[in-house]
């Protein structure tokens, strides 16, 4: 009978919400917003690439290297310049160019270095591009001096691509690890979003029930624990329906997703040659994208559910203690910290999925869902780590249920002054 009541509450919570305009609206618009969100990131990063467009004055003392630079890069305009360095310096200071490159006379034959002067201090991708062009120009000149056959140039200058292949117990898998990183990252981010959104729906539901004063009637029919669990499960079921709908949509739109993913990627995490063009990035991601084992998605759902259950339960406890959404903010902070932390460390986990930090984060139950999903998508996580993290997460969930239901029982009937954290801890001790 008791199990039944939890089910009745869950069913009501589920149906009540699924029938609302809000549900239909978010279900339909969710993917659009999400794609739009990723597209904005893509657009921003794309435009930041455009912003990398720069002009470099080249003082070519050798008189023969400039032709190697002319038109070699879409984004960098190399201009042939003459004359004393002071004048070049002035032109750069006037903002006419981003910097000037001095190629000393004996750079081809001797041991001197080229110098690049810039106001910005050429770092990162641009510097590595510049170095690459310089090196290939000098190399070409040197080969010419040695009178080497043109076939040899071609051999030497031929682009050597690097394909990264993911190693796993089942054997090699096609596709660059970058693609796995991106999908892992998106999955982690989705868990983050949904955990927060559905968690706060649960909290709002609890607060509303308390504000409407319906709660006293309800708990004269069911145990507070059943009400709490029914709410969490019902809203979780709603979330699952919503996510499944999105999954179907996404599966249908994989092609589009691949493009969007490509746009959002950071070239550094791709482990592609630094000078790879946008098209090459897209290529690397788009083509190899759908090559995932089913277990990755199964774990995604499992970790989403467990993460949601853990946090929704805690949020429900918090909601029961307050009367208004605003009052909940300060109490939510300690609960939110681990979630925020797992997002803050998301890039660190993507960069080194097997580092000590990544393993620790994916084992600590409060942070586990996001990093673990990222790791499972990227590397072969040892079984013991998955089982340990699942066991800890499930154990913590039951702990959270215990704590929350004790707070809830007292909280839903307490009106008036907003309780402090200390008072809430006291509630847990009541019989």
């Amino acid at each position: 009978m008791t199990k039944n009541k939890t089910f009745i509450v869950a069913k009501n919570e589920f149906l009540k919400r699924v029938k609302t305009r809000w549900f239909v609206f978010t279900t339909l618009l969710g993917p659009i917003v999400l794609i739009g969100f990723f597209a904005v990131i893509g657009f921003v990063s794309a435009s930041s690439i455009e912003n990398n467009e720069s002009t470099v004055l080249v003082l070519d003392e050798t008189g023969r290297l400039f032709s190697q630079f002319d038109g070699v890069d879409e984004d960098i305009t190399f201009l042939h310049a003459e004359g004393p360095e002071d004048r070049l310096r002035q032109r750069v200071l006037d903002g006419e160019a981003d910097g000037y490159l001095v190629l000393p006379e004996n750079i081809v034959t001797g041991d001197v270095e080229a110098r690049y002067y810039t106001m910005g201090g050429g770092i990162g991708e641009f510097a590595s591009d510049l170095r690459f062009y310089l090196r290939s120009a000098v190399r070409t000149a040197r080969l010419e001096d040695q009178d080497v056959a043109s076939e040899v140039y071609d051999i030497i200058n031929a682009r050597v691509g690097l394909e990264s292949i993911r190693l796993s117990q089942e054997g090699e898998e096609q596709g660059s690890s970058a693609a796995y990183a991106v999908v892992g990252g998106i999955m982690g981010f989705l868990i983050y979003l949904t955990m927060l959104i559905y968690g706060s729906v649960v909290m709002q539901g609890v607060i509303q029930e308390k504000m409407n004063r319906v709660v006293e009637v309800i708990i004269s029919s069911v145990r507070p624990f059943q009400l709490l669990m029914g709410k969490v499960l019902g809203i979780g079921a709603m979330g699952l329906v919503q996510m499944s709908f999105w999954a179907v949509l996404m599966a249908g739109g994989t092609m589009l997703a691949g493009t969007v993913v490509g746009l959002t990627m950071d070239t550094a995490s791709l482990e592609l040659p630094a000078e790879a063009t946008q098209a090459e990035i897209l290529d690397a991601a788009g083509v190899n994208l759908p090559d995932f084992g089913v277990e990755v998605f199964v774990f995604f759902v499992v970790y989403f559910l467990l993460g949601y259950l853990l946090y929704a339960t805690l949020f429900a406890g918090i909601g029961s203690a307050v009367e208004q959404q605003q009052d909940a903010q300060s109490l939510m902070l300690p609960v939110m910290m681990p979630i925020i932390m797992s997002i803050v460390f998301l890039t660190a986990v993507i960069e080194a999925p097997n580092s000590g930090l990544s393993i620790a984060l994916s084992l600590i139950p409060f942070t586990a869902p996001i990093p673990m999903v990222v790791r499972i998508a990227m590397v072969d996580v040892p079984l013991w780590q998955i089982s340990a993290s699942l066991a800890l997460l499930i154990g913590t969930f039951f702990g959270a249920v215990w704590v929350s239901s004790r707070i809830y029982r007292i909280g839903i009937l307490s009106y008036g002054k907003k309780p402090s954290l200390k008072e809430i801890i006291k509630w847990m001790k009541y019989a």
């Binding site: 004063r213 009637v217 004269s220 009937l413």
Partner: protein
Amino acid sequence: MPILKVQGISKQYEKVLAVNNISFEAQPGRILGLLGPNGAGKTTTIRMVTYITIPDSGQILFGDDRVGPASQERMGYLPEERGLYKKMKVGEQLMYFAELKGLHKSVAKERIRYWLDRMGALDWVSKATNELSKGMQQKIQFIATILHDPELLILDEPFGGLDPINADLLQDVILELKDEGRTILFASHRMEQVEQLCDDICLVSKGEIVVNGALSDIKKQHGKNVVMIDFEGNDGFLDRLEQSGSVRVNARSLRHAEIRLLNGTPSKTVLSAALEDVSDITRFELVEPPMREIFVTAVTEQQGQQALAAEEV
């Protein structure tokens, strides 16, 4: 045979002893008035009876068993602070409450129709709650309380917010349920209603019972010590009587007064004092004290004693 037996229950919150060793019983086919000033421990007591909270000590028996999840399905509770889900439709809402009480869907459907019809609310079945007036919501809440045909009904200020016509309708239903053998716990501050409805009284103050028993017995115990007088003319005699300390004037209006005789003062004292001033007396009656008078006397006495006891400590 009493169906509800409350035996020596206590409940402490923080430093406040909300309920201190309370015992009472409720009989089928009778209405027990649970009375007391604000903060006396009524709600805490009701919450323990409905198994929302659990007493620190003592026990509550419903039928032969202690209260618990099973007894919850046999009780209907209408709390003073009550509400409905704002956006849910009346019909869906009632169905949810009925299901939570363990009622089968098909039975619930029939009962919802019956009661909505009976309360003149059948047209609202597919309206959302926030479209209803306060009085309408009140009726829906009452229906939710009795849908599962509970053996024990706990009604906390059930008439609040109802117009006289709907209040009469509700009163008829309550009396009908009583006649069918339901046990009813009625909490209210409206003493006229208590007097009209209740068979038994349990008066609580500061977590303790101060008066408990059949309403008629309690009244008899107090004896006829209240004079009701209707008169024409000067009412100066009321002030003189009160100053002498032999009576207390409870209610006083232009042509009417309710006078409590103190320390065995005979009613004749009032009559002779009145004759000195008034031009005519249209009514002079010695009656049992009204519930209101019993309430005030009992509570002030107990709180006075407690204050004295506190001073001695």
